[in-house]
């Protein structure tokens, strides 16, 4: 596996350290001579000094046909130009681009970059899922956000508590994949009764998630 890590400071150092033993073909490019020296000393890998959005730098450092190309520079537009060049002209299979402006995540993807990462964007999303779902729920996105797993604890006041799954008319496009009931894990079927304090692991599409949570959290009107 050929991996290229272009620019970046301590995040680059971290990623290099992670990959250097896993792949023989690690190419590191950094435009900052001093930081390049630091990486060389710290990680014992070779660093190509130059601006990665320049064609001759990518040519000379030998990134052609790389499997993964990661751009960790400070400026979003520099990372963009770097990734586009790597992809269009050097046949790189997958480009990962980091951005500081979270609004660029969607735009860069629309313009053709495979994967765009913004720490603010991730933070905002995790706050969003944490807040809308209150503290009892945790979510996990898989398959690039096409599927979400939602973990939710059943409160005794919920309408569905002490009911059989077949009787509650559970929303479509969502399934209770398992129930965690201390100390057992139950794979439910229609006749399984949901009990208070059960932890439900629900698999659904992101669009359905809010509906499902609302459905589960509906309380008995008394």
């Amino acid at each position: 596996m050929k991996i290229v890590i272009a620019n970046g400071k301590h995040e680059a150092d971290f990623v290099i350290n992670m990959f250097k033993d896993q792949t023989k073909d690690l190419i590191v490019i950094n435009s900052d001579k001093n930081f390049a020296d630091y990486i060389v000393k710290n990680n014992k890998v070779a660093v190509f000094v130059g601006e990665p959005y320049k064609r001759f730098v990518l040519e000379d450092s030998g990134v052609r046909d790389a499997d993964i190309f990661i751009a960790l520079g400070e400026k979003d537009t520099d990372n963009y130009a770097t990734c586009m060049l790597a992809k269009k002209e050097f046949n790189v299979k997958k480009c990962i681009c980091t951005v500081t402006n979270p609004k660029n995540v969607d735009i860069f993807k629309r313009l053709g970059i495979d994967s765009v990462i913004s720490s603010t964007y991730l933070l905002a999303n995790s706050i969003k899922s944490a807040s809308s779902l209150e503290d009892v729920i945790q979510t996990l996105s898989i398959e690039e956000d096409k599927i979400v797993l939602t973990e939710i604890v059943i409160n005794p006041t919920y309408r569905i508590a002490n009911q059989k799954i077949m009787d509650i008319n559970f929303p479509q496009n969502a399934t209770i994949s398992c129930i965690y009931r201390e100390p057992h894990v139950i794979i439910p079927n229609g006749s399984t009764i949901i009990k208070p304090k059960d932890k439900l692991v629900v698999i659904s599409t992101p669009d359905e998630q809010e509906k499902v949570v609302k459905f589960i959290q509906t309380t008995n009107k008394k």
């Binding site: 320049k54 400026k75 520099d78 963009y80 060049l85 402006n101 735009i107």
Partner: protein, 136 residues
């Protein structure tokens, strides 16, 4: 209706193109992140100025980018220019896009898109060759 001419980057080139377009009665809007850059526009300039970072798409949308018939991209940063040219072409489908690139090699990334590039380096070289041809 697409009727605006948007100029991004109010440097010498941007300001002069803006002034000319304004003189011809076009509906001109100039964007620059540095407010002082607008001093380059002549007194007679009758278009709009927007102070802010054009790489932030919400600013572009506030600047009516969707109603642009033409955009001239001439900031001092080639990568910004390249990105904005792609945005103008792919996302907003502006019919006429002009972009200045100092590094001619960056132009390979415009392949297949309806973007017209200006390379000051090539212009200077051509001019030099022309002058030399005349004088020797």
């Amino acid at each position: 209706m697409r009727n605006k001419v948007i100029i991004i980057g109010c440097g010498r080139l941007g300001a002069n193109i803006a002034a000319l377009a304004s003189e011809k009665g076009q509906n001109v809007l100039v964007i620059d992140r540095n407010r002082n850059a607008f001093d380059r526009l002549p007194e007679s300039f009758s278009g709009y100025t927007v102070n802010g970072d054009a790489t932030d798409l919400s600013l572009l949308e506030e600047a009516y980018v969707k109603t642009a018939k033409e955009v001239v991209i001439a900031t001092g940063d080639d990568n910004v220019n390249l990105f904005l040219a792609h945005v103008a072409s792919v996302i907003y489908e502006i019919p006429n896009i002009y972009v200045r690139l100092d590094d001619p090699e960056r132009g390979v990334l415009l392949k297949g898109l309806k973007i017209k590039a200006i390379y000051p380096f090539e212009l200077s070289l051509n001019k030099f060759n022309l002058m030399k041809g005349e004088n020797i």
